[in-house]
């Protein structure tokens, strides 16, 4: 799977709100590198209500790091999705410890 590195701290606007990527990090886990992203979203004018989310998502294990660029000039890495539920649990626990105020940690 390809992961496109979006710029940090830039508002990505949709019609209902926007989100930002605050941090892009790499966690060493059992000899592999886990790519994680800390994001926040603010839903401010959606029909569905307003609110938002502060969360982390994990594209997967990095297999290459910024190995190419896409048409828009953004760096692209290769990631492998983390499907093993035991690994997910452990990684979630480690990241919860580092970021205790983040309540949602999702695996892509």
């Amino acid at each position: 799977m390809k992961y496109v590195h979006l710029p940090l701290n830039e508002e990505m606007r949709s019609i209902g709100g926007y989100y930002k990527i605050f941090e892009e990090g790499v966690l060493d886990y059992e000899g592999r590198k886990v790519l994680y992203l800390l994001k926040g979203a603010h839903v401010e004018t959606s029909c569905c209500g307003s609110g938002g989310v502060a969360y982390m998502n994990i594209p997967g294990y990095l297999t290459t790091w910024k190995s190419e660029k896409n048409d828009g000039g953004l760096d692209v890495s290769e990631v492998k999705r983390i499907r093993d539920s035991a690994a997910q649990k452990k990684i979630r626990k480690i990241l919860s410890g580092k970021y205790p105020y983040i309540s949602v940690i999702d695996f892509d």
Binding site: V43, S46, C48, G49, S50, G51, G52, V53, S103, V104
Partner: protein, 486 residues
């Protein structure tokens, strides 16, 4: 023979580690480190005395037909209403008949046992039978107080009758003392308390032995005759002193669960009694003592029938069903102790239509569904025209209670937009066992606990609180059934 026919107990799932509380407020009262060991049980944002009393009462009537219930007594010093009989809410949730006695007992922490004595007296006099007594408290201590650390939330329930009694009632002794160790005025949110030494030495230290001795003298028994002596007192030192004064062997004194639950006020004696009954054997003599504006002391003897009682969660099951609440501020917001911003949307009118609440009380409180007698389809809420597209029969329905049937998750979501005091809001369509489908809020779970096909139980909860008008209203939510521990 009059006595306890059945019993139940409920402890809310969330447990707040007292050191986390001390971590937040220890700076203002460092001596509180003495009280910061263990954890306290904390009601979820959608729980209160009424919902917990209901949970304990439902547990209590496990194995009995709801039509047998002949009375409901609700005891609490932290009711959600000064005036709206909450025993009617518990009775409604039990789907009990409406032509029964319902009463609220309040005013002091002995109200739970007072309700129990009243029930025993009524059954003994032959004026009522199968009275369900349920006591619950959700007491508040100011931030940084001793009470905050000592109080816990919970409920205990007993059904009193004269058939197949599992613990025979042998007698009681009561005192009423206007001993104001603490009090709460009619407009106040928090208790006010006097000096601890006075409370321990003159209050507990004097009145508990007075009640125990009074009971023993009246009934011609001695403390040593009892398999378990049950009394609430969260001052460890005072407890030791009472035990010593009265010569109790340590294993004969019922554990007050201070380090795992906290003191649950009105419910405390009944919760401890439920735990004692969980472990009791036929022939055991149990003494139950309450304390608060005087004492009640009651004497029961367990019978053979206890071996035939259907299993229930009770206190033992509730103790095991726990989840960490690792956020002290969440507790403060849930108990409305700190102002949290709910935005302009939170100020929107939340109308309660009392005509609707009355008209549909059986569905709202009792979760009564309808079953089509033509095609057998169960449907909730009750319908006049059968929802089965192959049937469509009009007015061929019979009522059926589904609150105790449970269901299976058909679809679910975890919603970060829906306003919730315990986000994310989780809800989804549940297929009710026996038929019917409705969208319920899920509670007491994490998103990982939900999956299509997962079994759920229904739990009576606060549906909403209208802060502007101080109205609390109730309905049922779905709780995923806990998996067997891995």
């Amino acid at each position: 023979m009059v006595g306890i026919r059945s019993y139940g107990g409920y402890i809310p799932r969330y447990r707040l580690n007292k050191m986390i509380v001390f971590g937040g407020m220890g700076w203002i009262n460092p001596a509180n480190i003495m009280n910061a060991q263990g954890e306290k049980a904390v009601a979820n944002f959608d729980e209160d005395s009424v919902t917990m009393a209901t949970a304990a009462a439902i547990d209590c009537v496990t194995g009995f037909g709801r039509e047998e219930i002949g009375g409901v007594y609700f005891a609490s010093t932290t009711s959600s209403y000064k005036e709206r009989l909450c025993a009617n809410l518990v009775a409604g949730a039990l789907a009990a008949d409406e032509s029964i006695r319902t009463a609220d007992f309040a005013g002091g922490l002995k109200a739970g046992t007072t309700a129990l004595i009243a029930a025993l007296d009524a059954v003994g006099a032959g004026s009522a039978n199968n009275i369900v007594v349920s006591a619950a408290d959700c007491r508040l201590g100011k931030m940084g107080s001793v009470q905050e650390l000592m109080f816990g939330d919970g409920a205990g329930s007993v059904m009193v009758g004269d058939k197949d009694v599992i613990a025979e009632f042998k007698g009681s002794f009561s005192t009423g003392h206007d001993f104001v160790d603490h009090f709460r005025g009619s407009e106040a949110k928090y208790d006010r308390q006097w000096e601890e030494r006075w409370i321990r030495d003159i209050g507990f230290g004097q009145f508990v032995p007075e009640a125990i001795n009074g009971l023993c003298e009246k009934c011609g028994v001695a403390p040593a005759d009892f398999a378990k002596i049950i009394y609430p007192c969260y001052y460890g030192g005072a407890r030791k002193k009472i035990n010593k004064t009265l010569g109790f062997e340590p294993d004969k004194v019922q554990d007050n669960m201070q380090a795992v639950v906290g003191d649950c006020g009105t419910a405390q004696p009944l919760m401890m009694l439920a735990k004692a009954l969980d472990d009791a054997k036929p022939g055991d003599k149990l003494m139950v003592v309450s304390y608060g504006s005087g004492c009640d002391a009651l004497y029961f003897e367990v019978t053979d029938n206890i071996t035939r009682l259907a299993p229930r969660h009770s206190i033992t099951g509730s103790l095991a069903n726990r989840a960490d609440l690792d956020n002290y501020i969440k507790y403060l917001v849930w108990r409305r102790m700190v102002p949290a911003d709910t935005g302009l949307r939170g100020e929107e009118q939340k109308w309660t239509r009392w005509t609707l609440q009355w008209r549909t009380r059986k569905s709202i409180l009792g979760m009564e569904a309808s079953r089509c007698t033509k095609c057998g389809t169960q449907q909730f809420p009750p319908q006049r025209i059968c929802v089965n597209p192959e049937c469509g029969a009009v007015d061929e329905m019979e009522p059926v209670i589904v609150s105790d049937k449970g269901g299976k998750v058909f679809s679910f979501t975890s919603d970060m937009l829906a306003a919730s005091a315990n986000p994310p809001a989780m809800y989804g369509a549940v297929d009710i066992n026996g038929g019917g489908r409705y969208v319920f809020d899920f509670t007491d779970c994490a998103i990982d606990d939900l999956a299509v096909g997962k079994a759920v139980d229904f739990s009576f909860r606060i549906k909403y609180y209208d802060a502007m008008r101080d109205i609390t209203n109730y309905f049922w939510k779905a709780v995923p059934v806990a998996e067997e521990a891995e």
